[in-house]
């Protein structure tokens, strides 16, 4: 066996080199995973880093003298008067009083610290409490966005601070005395979009998303389940069935923007449906989600063992009874899981909605399926495209909200799969 001995020797000698290769290959794999996970981590930290300040608002609390003469107002219940009255002046005066060393000369600089909507807040407060006229009240207002940015990002190079030296000194002083303060940004969760970042909220977008998702769900889930049942249980083996299958598989891979073109051409141009409404958005998204739901539904039906079918058929159940009484309930968890994943996809979808006009600037929270609306991801898109950095912050915050929704939906799907799916 000298032959074998020498062969073994050769093998032994080659081992070192081969194990080096083996280690290198393994290292490549680890590197690849590290790149992918690293990207995930960077993405998340970037967004959280940019966005967490979006959940914080900067306010100013001061004693406002509601002097009727200064405001040109003597009857706050009079609609006409309240429309014409000057609500900026009391705010400016109050702030000048709060800032030591500030005089009437500085009024322009002082005024730049107050949020443009603060006067509206004051007006509404007075309208609701007419007895406040000619008293002095301690009230809290949003600061100007520039102050907000300065307070949050003074030491952060990425943000350009628009306040001048004088204003910065004032704000620093006010901060120290807690006149200017930061707190949880409830405005972000109580209103729709706005031209002013400090007033912008995501409720409008969330409601728009919910309305759209509702339409998507009630259309795509029953239709998807029905189609899956037909294809898996009733469809004859013929060319037409094959054709349907090929269609579904291809539709699952068609770029989403094409569905936007379909929605624009068919629902809006052909049927004359209104633009930017949740119904049309839901229609488009349900067409887009259907293939996903059908494919996962079929997989769920397939996993129900034939013995169940045979057992039911054996006691004389009709095909439809077998399917509806036995197969469908057993396949339901799988179908629900697939649908949740499909809905999560639809919730994050943006491109097709841009084409059907859900990209408009909408301040009001939509109150119906036929009301102009936008959705969460489109809101992110709109804010991200803004040159104002305060909007970028809102966009990141909105992304965090969107991701929270998506992650909880996916977690729910995973939980359901673990919990409800039977192993045969």
């Amino acid at each position: 066996m000298t032959d074998q001995r020498s062969q073994a020797e050769i093998v032994r000698q080659s081992l070192k080199r081969r194990y080096r290769k083996e280690r290198r290959f393994r290292a490549y794999g680890i590197m690849a995973i590290a790149i992918a996970l690293g990207a995930l981590i960077i993405l998340f930290t970037d967004i959280i880093g940019k966005g967490y300040t979006g959940f914080v608002k900067t306010t100013i609390t001061m004693d406002v003298q509601l002097d009727g003469g200064m405001m040109y107002l003597d009857d706050p219940t009079d609609e006409r008067q309240i429309k014409m009255a000057d609500f900026v002046e009391p705010l400016v005066q109050a702030l000048i009083k709060e800032i030591p060393g500030a005089t009437e000369e500085d009024r322009k600089q002082v005024r730049e610290l107050i949020n443009p909507y603060a006067s509206v807040t004051l007006r509404d407060a007075l309208k609701n409490n007419p007895e406040w006229l000619n008293t002095t009240r301690t009230l809290t207002f949003l600061t100007h966005t520039d102050v907000d940015v300065y307070v949050k990002h003074a030491g952060d190079g990425a943000y350009s601070i628009k306040l001048n030296e004088q204003q910065r000194a004032w704000v620093d002083d006010l901060l120290e005395r807690n006149v200017v303060d930061t707190s949880f940004n409830n405005v972000f969760f109580s209103g729709g979009d706005s031209r002013d970042p400090s007033k912008a909220g995501i409720v409008g977008a969330i409601v728009g998303s919910l309305l759209t998702m509702f339409v998507t769900l009630i259309l795509s889930f029953p239709i998807g389940v029905a189609a899956a049942i037909y294809l898996e249980e009733f469809a004859p083996q013929n060319r037409f069935t094959d054709f349907i299958e090929v269609n579904i598989n291809n539709l699952a891979a068609v770029p989403s923007i094409i569905f936007g073109l379909l929605g624009l051409a068919v629902f809006i141009n052909l049927f004359g449906m209104p633009r930017s409404v949740p119904v049309v958005g839901g229609l488009v998204l349900s067409l887009m989600t259907l293939p996903t739901i059908i494919i996962s539904g079929r997989a769920a039906i397939k996993s129900v063992p034939p013995s169940i079918r045979e057992a039911a058929e054996g006691i004389g159940a009709s095909k439809m009874q077998v399917v509806l009484h036995h197969v469908l309930p057993l396949a339901m968890p799988g179908m629900l899981t697939g649908s949740i994943i499909g809905m999560a996809q639809a919730l994050g979808e943006t491109a097709p909605l841009l084409l059907i006009g859900m990209v408009a600037f909408i301040v009001d929270v939509p109150d119906g399926f036929f009301d102009s609306a936008t959705v969460l991801p489109v809101q992110v898109f709109l804010w991200a495209g803004s040159p104002e950095l305060a909007f970028i912050e809102r966009a990141s915050a909105a992304i965090m909200v969107l991701l929270t929704f998506l992650i909880s939906m996916n977690a729910l799907a995973i939980w359901m799969r673990k919990r409800l799916e039977r192993r045969w």
Binding site: Y19, A39, L40, L251, I257, I258, A265, L287, E349, G385
Partner: protein
């Protein structure tokens, strides 16, 4: 009545019909000595009545909803005085939006001509009439059909067979909806595309190397023609997709290999869901990341290296798109690698091959066709990806292969051309549909080929 309420009402009526049908079948059965003398269970008589009532009503509702908008528009336009009837579809749509703005109160009626204000009034009237008519029609159809269905309940009637037949047809139509969707896509892009080619020659579009769709508003303006050569768009799309694939294919493939061949159960259990998380992140988030973090980073790095890089470089969009596609490549490759029978692995390991030798020389070649199919699917996804490029790639249609320059893509142009104010008839809008048609065709081709390869590969080992 609001459509949503009407829908609910229809469902309620169907439930009522169910109850009535159920009750009637029972009362018919009573004198005969119980429900076992019925041909089917009372449930099926009820279900039959519900279907009879609900389906026609819902069909009427859907048709009415689908066509009322267009019909009302036509009536409103037709009712305008001679001089105001718009000559083209584009002007018509502008005029209509003006009228509907007046009708909804967004535009005070004092600001528009009297005929327009009248038209707005008519629009409002027509809308409420239409809603009334629709409600009346749907309700009467539901009641009438339900009543007929109820009337025809006989003990000998095989309600179960009928209900099952109707259900089967319902299921079938749901499945056939996939075909309808495809047909809808083809028609919606084909129609406008043909109209586009009436305005712009086909060859100019396919072979033109200049893209600048800014048509003039007035005929006497300079550059009133606009140029519609799609080559720079396709090269831009390909450049970004190529960058994405350079990132996604090695990373996705290697991580799939590591996870399926080396990683322990625990590692796999943690890493796989995390990788899948990358797939679950909405594209708009990637777009945000690319535009606001990666692109500035790349141009900063390039600047310190003394290279010129655009702030909207193809590299930023491509790299981020690559990250998005990683889980797609890795899960497809994972499937394919796992489909290679264990016997192959055993055969190679038993000869004394190391794991990496087995992977590189046996498993990978065996899985190659399937992996290629997966990569083609990934390419098709990269080509059709919209939000990342809309946010991170530019609008300038440069014909370049330099990843640090700005390029634009087909999808970016579709979105740009179709958002904002637009006329339905201009070459600009139609161009978007022509681009859509090209996009649809190329991704369809990739998908069909890829799915075929993958299916063939699967069959090989089944």
């Amino acid at each position: 009545m609001q459509p949503a309420n009407l829908l609910l009402l229809t469902l309620v009526m169907a439930i009522v019909a169910y109850g009535l049908g159920y009750a009637r079948s029972r009362s018919l059965a009573m004198p005969m000595g119980g429900i076992r003398h019925l041909k089917s269970l009372p449930f099926y008589y009820g279900a039959r009545a519900a279907l009879w009532s609900g389906i026609p009503a819902l069909l009427v509702l859907a048709c009415w909803m689908a066509f009322q908008g267009k019909v009302i528009q036509l009536i409103v336009i037709g009712g305008l005085p001679e001089g105001l009837i718009p000559p083209t579809d584009g002007e018509a749509s502008l005029l209509l939006s003006k009228i509907s703005n007046v009708a909804s109160g967004a535009l005070p009626s004092g600001f528009v001509e009297a005929p327009i204000a009248e038209a707005a009034e008519r629009l409002k009237a027509l809308r409420s009439q239409s809603q009334f008519l629709m409600s009346a029609l749907v309700i009467s159809v539901a009641v009438l059909a339900g009543f007929l269905g109820w009337l025809r309940i006989r003990p000998r009637l095989n309600a179960r067979a009928q209900v099952e037949a109707i259900l089967k047809w319902l299921f079938f139509s749901c499945a056939a909806l996939a075909i309808l969707t495809t047909v809808g896509i083809i028609f919606s892009v084909a129609f406008e595309t043909f109209r586009f080619f009436e305005k712009v020659p086909f060859t100019d579009f396919i072979f033109g190397s200049h893209w600048s769709p800014q048509t003039a508003l007035r005929a006497d303006q300079v550059a009133s023609q606009g140029a519609f050569g799609m080559i720079p768009l396709f090269t831009g799309t390909l450049l970004i997709s190529a960058i994405a694939m350079i990132v996604a294919v090695p990373v996705g493939l290697l991580s799939a290999i590591y996870l399926s061949e080396y990683a322990g159960k625990k590692v796999r259990g943690v890493v796989k869901p995390l990788l899948e998380m990358l797939a679950g992140i909405p594209t708009v988030v990637y777009g945000f990341f690319a535009a606001l973090t990666v692109a500035p980073f790349i141009s900063d790095v390039a600047a310190t290296l003394g290279i010129e890089a655009s702030s909207q470089s193809a590299l930023a969009a491509g790299a981020v798109m690559g990250i998005m596609i990683i889980p797609f490549v890795s899960s497809l490759s994972d499937d394919v690698i796992n489909a290679v029978p264990q016997a192959m692995r055993d055969g190679s390991l038993a000869l004394g091959a190391t794991q990496s030798e087995t992977m590189k020389k046996v498993i990978f070649p065996a899985a190659l066709p399937g992996i290629m199919g997966g990569i083609l699917l990934a390419v098709s996804r990269a080509i059709g990806e919209t939000m990342i490029v809309v946010m991170a790639a530019g609008l300038a249609a440069n014909l370049t292969a330099n990843p640090l320059e700005t390029v634009t893509t087909v999808t970016v142009q579709i979105v740009t051309l179709l958002t904002g104010d637009q006329e339905f008839d201009s070459a600009k809008t139609l161009a978007a549909f022509a681009l859509g048609a090209m996009l649809f065709l190329s991704t369809l081709l990739l998908n069909v080929v890829a799915l075929k390869i993958v299916r063939k590969y699967r069959e090989q080992y089944d």
